[in-house]
Structure formats: structure tokens, C-alpha cells
Amino acid sequence: MAYPTNYRYTREHEWISVEGKIGTIGITDYAQNSLGDIVYVDAPKVGDTVTAHATFGSVESVKAVSDLFSPVSGTVTETNESLKTEPDKINSAPHETWIIKVELSDPAQFDGLLDAAAYEAFIAEEQ
């Protein structure tokens, strides 16, 4: 699966896309593939703050529970309610299925993340 070039990525396998001050965050195809079938997503509430590189929730698959790490710092403006009943959407469309939207407190953090080419090189090393 191709990694969208307008997104940025973390070494913990989250993606973020930014429009204006709002960042949309999800997990990558590589992440969903190594986790296997996702059965539960634990996300923060609207109004919670998230910190770059710190955990903001977790995803549970049949194999394990894994922490979600925030690519940026900011305040949660929206959470994807549909994941409560259809967490498997992350498996079928990882790059379209977002988990939270965040108002960035420091938009410059976006530029410090991996671009698609750097992320693909990183996961090639992991494999």
C-alpha cells in the first residue's frame, strides 16, 4: 500500500495530515499489518491535550495492546466515533481511517516528522 506523500509519519507508525491548524492522526498500513485484526481503539476525549512523542491512547488487536504515540502536541478537537463499532476499518483502510483530530500547539512539529520516503526507508529496515 502506498504511503500518501502529503502525510508525515512517526517511528512509532502513526501518520498525520495537516490542514490549517488541525492535524488528523491515524496509524499506518505497516502498523495495522503487524498488529493484525484490530478489535478496540482507546482514544482520548475532545478537549484533552496530547504531547508529541507521548502516548495518547491504545489499539488492541487479537495479538496485543499497543500504545498510540502522538506525532504532535495539541488539543483534541474530534475523535472518530465510528471506531467504537467498526475498529476493523483501520485494517481495511488505514490511511483513510483517522483516530483523532488535534489543534496543533506548535505547527513546526509537523516538519520535524518523517516524510513518506523516509518512513518507507525506516520500515524497510525494521523488516
Partner: protein, 503 residues
Amino acid sequence: MSTIETPAVNKAIGKVRPHQTQNERLVFEKSSPGKKAYKLAPLDVPEVDPEALLGDAVRKDPPGLPELSEIEIIRHFTRLSTWNYAIDLGMYPLGSCTMKYNPRVNEWVSRIRGLAEAHPYRPDSLAQGILNIIDLLQKCLIEITGMDTITLQPAAGAHGEFTGILLVRAWHESQGNARKKIIIPDSAHGTNPATAAICGYQVENLKSNAEGGIDLEALTAQVDEETAALMLTNPSTIGVFEEQIHKIADILHDKGALLYMDGANMNALVGKVRPGDFGVDVMHLNLHKTFSTPHGGGGPGSGPVACKKFLEPFLPTPVLVQDENGMKTWNYDRPQSVGRVRAFYGNTGMFIRALAYILANGPDGLRQTTEDAVLNANYIRKKLEDVYELPYKTPSMHEVVFSDKKQVAKGVKTGDIAKRLIDYGFHPYTVSFPLIVPGALMIEPTESESLEELDLFIDAMRSIAKEVEETPELVKSAPHSTRISRLDEVKAARKPVLRWKPE
């Protein structure tokens, strides 16, 4: 039922056993009104009206219990028991779980009437026998771990972790600052971060180095004045001994942080090295792993916590002491204690079994046990490393971790191989853990297995590797010899049905 033929190679293994194919409905589904498995004598006292006695509290509807005859109940549970797997049937190589044999002498001792029927409310003066057993077990475990003191209260491993971290917190609080965070390596058992979080600490993840161990530089950078402790499993979950353990302890102690050791893998250390000597401040043991008491459904577990002297004031109440007449008694006067963590004094029946195991083996026997556990794991490693990928080449201790990298090319994953292993008459190994190894196969034979049983297991694993090459579908659709074929784990997790309801 599967239509796939069992290949000749399986027949050669000689371990594939037929299962009862008869279906067994739930005991509730087998119920029919009016059946019962008891017969009461005719009433020979005046009947009372329950409603008059109990008023509103009287139950209007009968409880929804199944109604069956005695033989139906007996057959139901006996049949179910034959569909189970146990260490008494064969090897149980569940990595990290130390599923060793539960010696019969343990059971014999724990069933001695005076011990089996000992009541926790019996006055101490009449319970000296069992109190002396508890005292001797404490002394043995202190000697084995090299620590100064111990509590046997915690009910199992994770409860031991919880108790241990409560001690850490209480000590830091007594120093004026509870501190904020606990550092946990990415190879840890999931219970470690859960423990830290429930004790009110932030969890900081520490990445393992290329050998699967602690990166000293990364640790040094991460430990600060707000670090309460590092929770470390040694040997680690990939079965590797942390050779730098002294330095790790120094790095923590320099900043006033403590070293907690998860004793899950103590089976690789008993009689060889002592955590108390390599800088550990507090640790738990799993009597149901290392000390041969029953594990899993049988249980119950037992997770003693041993610690250094400076943590002693905080131990759960009560603690066992000896009075001036040499009598053992419980001391409840412990103002700095974290409080009680378990009713009475823990799972006492397990203390008797663990002590029986320790005394039956003696110091040399326990050392031999450790050596055999390590030898067995390394024998499996050597015999399988050409067919299964070995992600960490560091020398193994009591368990070995392979990955499914070679098999994934054929679309077969660790979970599939584990299911196929059931067809060969073995309990599966631990699947997909530790998390630092993608597609992990974690194998821990323990010292209980003979060379013959190890060879059967190795033959099975090699045969499955061959099947992956030749007939991958056979492995991907396993198990084939069980009454129920592969279950839908995803559906079970997403839409769990947790109780039976009448139609």
C-alpha cells in the same frame, strides 16, 4: 471437520491422538425441568413459611440453575476434562510461563489433614506447625533471592508486582517525594506497565538494544530525579541474561531510583545467581512457575515479594515474628505498612507445596534444575535454528524465541504453527510475545522434559516447517484433530458472548 488428509509424516510422529467427536452442549442446554441430582429425607420438623420470616427479601423466582441428574453432571464434566490439555499429558512449552511438572509429593504433603484443614482463625498458639512452614519457606526464599525480607501475601505474579511497586512508592514518599515515573523496557510483560499505572506512575518505555538487552546510554539519559524505579525482567523475555545488571543498578541508585525485578524468569537463576547480590531492591517470585505449584486453571498462584531491609517497614500487614518464648505470631503493629493486600496470609496451600519442592530438591537439586532448564531450551534452539529464524543470537537461558520470518513467505504465521502443534499432541508455545520480535514463537520447555519428549517436540516442529513448505494450507487451517476446528478469534474479541441466555 476438515477434509485435509493427515500426511504420512504425522503418522510417523505417533503423537496425533483422536479426539472424542461427540458434541457436548452447555450444562444449561442439557437441563430439563424437574430433574435433580439429590434426594432429601422427608420433612420431619414443622414447616415454616419463608415469606413470614424473610418478608420482602424472599426470592419470588427460582434461580436459573440447570436441572440434571447426577450421572449427566458427572459425564458432562468428565468429558470436558478429556478435551483439556495438561502438563500431566505432555509437554507444555508455553514460553515465559514455566509450565513445569507439579510433583506428586507436593500434593501429598499439602493434603496432610492437619495442614489441609488448618483454619486461618485458629489462634497462633494452635497453628505453630503451619506458621513454622511459612517461616521456613520465607527463609528459603530469602536465601535463594539474596534479599533481606519477604511477604508471602500476594496472590500471584501481577499482584506481587503491585505490592512491590506499592513498597517503592511508600519508600519514596517517606523520603519526601513519591516521584513521577517508572521506566519499563519494551520487552517487558504487559503486567509491568499496568502495575506502574495502577500505582499512580507514568510509564516510560525503554527501547531494547540490538542484543535484546538494556541500552546503558539510553537508560542513563532517561533516569532522572523523578524516576521512581526501573521494572526489569532478568533474564529478559527473550531468555537473555542482562550481563550489565550491576551497572543498571548503579545508574538507578545514583539518581535515588530503585531496581524492581520481575521474577517471572527466576527458573533460570535459582542456585546460580541471586538478585539481591546484583543490585535488585525489590522483586516478586511466582511460586506457580519457579517452585512447581499448580499453574493456570488449577492454581491458585502465589507471588511473594522479597526486598531489601530499607523497604521492610512498608511490607503488608501482618508480618510473621517470633515472640520471646520462641512462638511464631503475627505482628499487626506496623505504622508504615502499605496495608493488607490479601485476606489472611495469602494462598497458604501453595506455600506448603513450594516448601516441599525446595526441601525435596535441596540446594544441589535446585541448581541442577536450573541447569537442566537452560540445557533443554538450548537443545531445542540448536535443533530448530536451521528451520526457524532466530532473531537474537545472544546466548539463551531457560527459553528460546524464534520468529516466523521464514514461514511468513509462505503466508504462514506463528499462530498457525501453534495451532498445528496441537495436532501433534503438544500445547502451543507462546505466540506473538515478546512484542520486540515480530511473529514470535516463544518456547520454554522447563527442566521437566526428558530427551525423548524434547525430541518428539523437535520432530513435530520440524515436520510443521516442512508442511509450511509443501502444504501451507494444511498448517493455515489447523487444528484438524480437535473436536472444534479453528475458532474465530477476531469475532470473539469484537462481539464477545459472555454468558448463556435462555432462548
